[in-house]
Amino acid sequence: MNLIKIKKTLLISLSVVALASCSRQPANNEQLPKEVSYNFHIRPILSDRCFKCHGPDANQRKADLRLDEEAAAFAGLKKNPGAHVLVAGKPDQSELFLRIATTDTAEVMPPPSSNLSLTAFEIKLIKKWIEQGAKYQKHWALIPPQQVTVPNSVSDWPKNEIDHFIMAKLNEKGLEPSEEAEKERLLKRVSLDLTGLPPSIQQQEEFLADQSSAAYEKVVDQLLSSKHYGEKMAVQWLDLARYADTHGYQDDGLRTMWPWRDWVIHAFNSNYSYDKFLTWQLAGDMLPNPTKEMLLATGFNRNHKITQEGGVIDEEYRIEYVTDRTNTFGKAFLALTFECAHCHDHKYDPISQKDYYRTFAFFNQVAEKGYQGDIYSGTAADPPRMKITSEDVDKILKFINKKDTTPVKVMVMKDSSLYRPTHVLVRGAYDAKGEVVGFGTPSAILNFDTTRFAKNRLGLAQWLLDDKNPLTARVFVNRIWQEFFGRGLVKTSGDFGMQGELPTHPELLDWLATDFTKNGWDVKRLVKQLVMSATYRQSSATTKGKQAVDPENIYLSHMTRARLGAEFTRDFVLATSGLLNEEIGGPSVKPYQPKGLWEIATSGRGLTKYIQDHGDKLYRRGMYTFIKRTVPPPAMLVFDGSNRDQCEVKRNRTNTPLQALVMMNDPAVLEASRVLAEKIMVSNNSMDENITVAFRTLVCRTPKSEEIKIFKTFFDSEKKLTTTEKKDQLIKLGEFKHAEIKDKESLAAFIKVIMTMYNMEETITKS
């Protein structure tokens, strides 16, 4: 095979990624399905390539034609009543087919000017769909989840219902599930997934020694009851809730929302049911006789950015905040791109601009101003706010880690006593007021029946939790699935709309959603179901054969390996070295950070200098690192952490040279290497034993003899090569106190061994 040919192939695939960035490109030789489904085959094409001009947005509609609704699509063309867009069974009489199949550039759809086109395969699919009767279906995500019968597989592999669904799909694709992972790897995986912390050597040994069939479940139960479970689960919620320690925008002053963050951890640890968790955050202030805890929970809707820039126009920013709440609501609870309907009718999904502002109306009642003053006159908590005293912490808000007696103020929700009418904003502009609208939601999801739902945020929460709401439970179980399997059953966990990906296991998604609501929205129960499944417990090793059939491991014929997220990488380093300060909650902290980052970027007002903490505060978990929105912690961003600018429900997972640099040179990793080396050497064992202990601590399994050999040889040569000067520098790394180690040469070489171990791919990966 010549080089030019390879190059050409690569270049073609590159342009596909660059321009289409969509994984729906079928291979050329893909077979047409026997039964063409509107939801699974046709709508994705129409939505992506046609609905922009022939879809829900009335203002953009061309030729007065819409294809997203069956009746409209089947109606005769107005300009030419004899012709039809669709004639069931007859593609050659259906304009839709004729126009996509023609080679006449003046006639062809989509028009060349749109930069969109259909592939030959897609045209064939549409043809076959028309031949089979051109049947429409409601978008899958808008049909409430159905009670599903669990498929029966004859294999003895399944451990719970999840596995039967997975097995059925694997069979269909000609794939086999994998063996259960080795015990040590499984323990590392489940510990990191449930608490974000690695298992200690002692925990590893206990698990290895426990030969009973209940050994794994015992560990799972222990982890689920660990106080660190809440921390682990909170992080994805903090991304979604755009939690940060500063107001954002240019002066980016301090805010105190950390008591709300402490509440989120508490809520997960106490296993608040999802319906309660959601209701308190959306409308805790509207519950009868709300407690201070319920009020605190409403801070969720105040986590958006707030401007302190002098001279801003008050109303422009007030509208901005309400917009942020509305968009967050859409994405977090419904996985719909509400923001698209801010300026015009949604181009793909049934959310009109009017629907948008009806939903907006719920969040538009807050007694607030867009501008409460600049960085000098503003405070860390704009009204409406709530004061938390030490007495509150002693009596009711026991989970708040308040360190001193000074009361703190947090932002909460409270509606104004005066009703504020909501206008449709023309093109989304704050000062272009259109017609007045009342409270409501997109009726295609579920009608907001005001005889059943109160016309306020509490009613909105009830609407979300209604039996007939097709999205709330699916969206949540999908996000939890994503947390454990690296990818949602719906890959686009933030978009269940027409443009989103289709579920890979629709029946499983519905089964999980209905099972979840039937069992009282019990989050821990759901999590336990996932980690107890055979699917989750599989080995992560893959084969060339499996990769060829399913390169993204969509069908889970093995467990997907995943690098730890930003905060958890830090936690891992601290926990394994023994440095971790296990304290929960409290004001955020400022660990080591490269010099000058805040100083060079500041406006000169507010938090101008990064004043690094010392002592215990250097060793708090990653989730407690102070997030200044305009200059987020740099190592976190390198590891795909969120900048907490807006609601995010999914992080990218990249693999970059800058990540290598952080693991090589971040003072936190270097200090951990030194401290762990000392800690192990204090026991006065042989270097082989030391290496084994370090390896088991970091990689969380027994090393292979080959691995010990590599490290031992490395240790021996480094001991010879390390000069006195370098040795003195290495054994001084970090601020943490030193253990008394006499053999400094060995210590220096052992520090290098541990640095190398921290950088092993397997170390910070769930295998």
Partner: protein, 482 residues
């Protein structure tokens, strides 16, 4: 048959791999390991890639962002009427409903004020330049002034964000991230998008990392902060006690261990990780070499001014920008803060001008003498303009100006723009555009065009919607193309 199978296999793996990495730094680097000249920029490669969409005029961009909004009326938009009418109120017919910021909306009067600094015409083009920019004045015939820029935002944060990402709100990818995504890097040892920060002495407005964010693109397209200081890139330096040879030995062992993991798991991410460590190692030597400005010849130091040897100054960043760009960095973004003269225009404006005048001109001249100006696009300007009337009371010897989104001036040089051009015109009050307006979206469309990209085709589908730098608007401005 065997070939076909191989191609298909390669294809799947590439797609899988690139789907995770996106185009750019890392993928370009690994691509070039597999096939040495994948991103060499040879014509036939570019053509078959489908991107750039047509022959580019510029290959690289250096954007000298003047953060805080330098006054067009004290720099390049000469308005003698304002001197004549000093102290008189801005006619309502000229203001014509323009909204005001909270800083001047309470003012009873809007007294016009002319430039304290004198203007002269320069070069064959006869461009007007104020006395506080003597070096930029000298290169007037290299520059293309756009006097008719206008924006929608009236406050710094949204205006800066708009200028850099094409949207006022929201976590959209920055210009540099888009170019990294679209065109990748020309240098396998450097990121495609580098950011340099400096601070002037004038009233400042902060910068925010969201200005160089990758937004919804992969983090490989994030702007990487560089400096000419001891640690030019975050986390680049080995700790004391580890030198280059030590690092090499650590990485050799690491690579052996990681290869064992690959054998066991077969996960292609492990292979990528091995390559990324090698790239990090190469950066450790290539970056400090590149950012070391002390070895520059005297002629260069003289050109940029002695300040260029002080890390963190605008001059040092201009020189560093030239070196990065020369090494193939696609997009070098500078930010110089301190241009927000709500008051004390007379005191602050010359200081700010002095910070940037010499080095900005030097950069253009330096690129030219290296034969690089033709393929490098230099952009100079802020996020909006300033009002023609005084903010607060107009005193005899000083004044200030508020934000003005309706008209401002930027200049560009090199890379396919028409040199010695003055494009667009404002009215005699310097308040409204009367000829050839250029909206921020148009500016972005034009810059992408110069880089060989069709702004309507450079798109990325995220959560169901195709996003562009120009969102749903923008048109290329033919009048400034060479």
């Amino acid at each position: 048959m065997a070939n076909e199978f191989f191609e298909r296999h390669l294809n799947i793996n590439r797609r899988h791999f690139l789907g995770k990495l996106g185009l750019g730094f890392g993928s370009a680097a690994l691509g070039s390991l597999l096939i040495p000249d994948l991103f060499s920029g040879k014509e036939e490669d570019i053509a078959s890639l489908g991107i750039p969409h047509f022959a580019p005029k510029a290959k690289r961009i250096i954007y000298l962002f003047q953060n805080g909004a330098p006054s067009q009326l004290e720099s390049f938009d000469y308005k003698p009427t304002l001197i004549k009418m000093a102290g008189q109120d801005l006619p309502a017919s000229i203001r014509n409903g323009q909204r005001l910021t909270g800083m001047t909306s309470g003012q009873a009067k809007f007294p016009l004020v002319g430039s304290h600094f004198s203007f002269q015409q320069y070069g064959k083009s006869g461009a007007w330049v104020s006395e506080i920019f003597p070096n930029i004045a000298k290169i007037a015939d290299e520059l293309c002034f756009i006097k008719s820029m206008h924006t929608e935002a009236i406050n710094h944060d949204p205006a800066l964000t708009f200028m850099q990402t094409g949207a006022q709100q929201g976590n959209r990818p920055s210009m540099g991230a888009w170019l990294s995504y679209g065109l990748g890097s020309d240098n396998k040892n450097l990121p495609a998008f580098c950011v340099l920060l400096s601070r002037g002495k004038g009233n400042g407005q902060g910068v925010y990392s969201k200005l160089w964010t990758n937004g919804f693109l992969d983090s490989i397209h994030q702007g990487v902060q560089f400096s000419s200081s001891e640690e030019p890139v975050l986390y680049l330096n080995n700790p004391s006690g580890i030198d280059k040879d030590d690092r090499r030995r650590i990485l050799d062992n690491l690579s052996q261990l990681n290869s064992m993991a690959y054998e066991e798991f077969g996960d292609p991410e492990i292979q990528t990780k091995i390559q990324q460590y090698e790239l990090a190692y190469r950066m450790q030597s290539s970056v400090p070499e590149l950012t070391d400005l002390t070895k520059e010849p005297d002629s260069i130091v003289k050109l940029y001014g002695a300040e260029c040897l002080v890390p963190g100054t605008y001059a040092a960043n201009c020189l560093l920008a030239r070196k990065l760009s020369e090494s193939g960095v696609r997009f070098v973004q500078l930010y110089h803060q301190g241009w927000d003269q709500h008051g004390n225009m007379v005191g602050e404006m010359p200081m700010q001008a002095k910070d940037v005048d010499r080095a900005s001109a030097a950069l253009v001249l330096d690129l030219k003498q290296r034969g690089l100006l033709d393929e490098t696009l230099v952009i100079w300007g802020g996020e909006f303009g300033r009002t023609n009337y005084c903010q607060g009371d107009l005193s005899k010897d000083n004044y200030g100006r508020d934000h003005h989104p309706r008209a401002y001036t930027i200049w560009m040089a090199g890379g396919g723009v028409k040199p010695g051009t003055v494009y667009g015109e404002t009215d005699e009050f310097g308040y409204n555009i009367i000829k050839d307006p250029v909206h921020v979206n148009d500016f972005h469309a034009t810059v992408l065009h110069l880089m060989g990209l069709n702004h309507e085709k450079l798109q990325y589908k995220h959560l169901g919607r195709r996003y562009r730098l120009t969102d749903i608007a923008g048109k290329v401005i033919p009048g400034i193309l060479a």
